[in-house]
Amino acid sequence: MINIISYLLLIIGSFCALTGSLGLLRLPDVYNRLHASTVIVVGGTVSLILGAGLLNGADSYLVKSLIIVFFIFITVPAASHAISRAAHLRGVKLSNESVVDKLEERERTLSEL
């Protein structure tokens, strides 16, 4: 039963890693590519680590996998936020299909006050 769950997690993780890599290649913009990067990390890496930790019967693998997953869940949103904020402050343009930019609106409103 646990083997079936871990193989399912490994398959889901491989699919999400491939999909995120394809999105990283195809999407038009830094901010859209951050979405693909999040798919790779949360869908791919976390599922793969949990699946690999469940596959082995020993406890130490599972505990260390859970520690790594906890650490990833803490750090990855902070890193993505820092990257997107740095890109926006650096002046990286949005793609042509993007329709809303709340941060720029807020800065314009603050500068008009």
């Binding site: 491989s14 491939l18 290649l25 990390v41 793969l48 680590i49 690999a52 650490f71 890193a79």
Partner: protein, 85 residues
């Protein structure tokens, strides 16, 4: 099975490397290298389970920490401010 998953991870990593080479702005490269390092963490954990060596998981934990610190430092540098270290 595990080596097949490793192969899939390396195919996905090839896409990240292509984006890191092509990327028009430096933020694209930072995003690509960040996701590449997370894929390598997953590869380290799976290799550790395959070879039954627990030390690979410790290496993966330290690598996750260092990749996070590196990403934060590079993005603070790209903002044009003091890195604060």
């Amino acid at each position: 099975m595990l080596l097949l998953v490793i192969l899939v991870i390396f195919i996905a990593a090839a896409g990240c490397i292509i984006r890191a080479i092509l990327g028009p702005t430096s933020s694209d490269r930072v995003v690509a290298v960040d996701s590449l390092s997370s894929l390598m963490i997953a590869a380290l954990v799976i290799l550790g389970v395959h070879y039954e060596a627990v030390i690979f998981l410790d290496v993966a934990l330290i690598y996750a920490l260092l990749a996070f610190i590196g990403t934060l430092a590079i993005s603070k540098y790209l903002e044009g401010k003091d890195v604060g270290m």
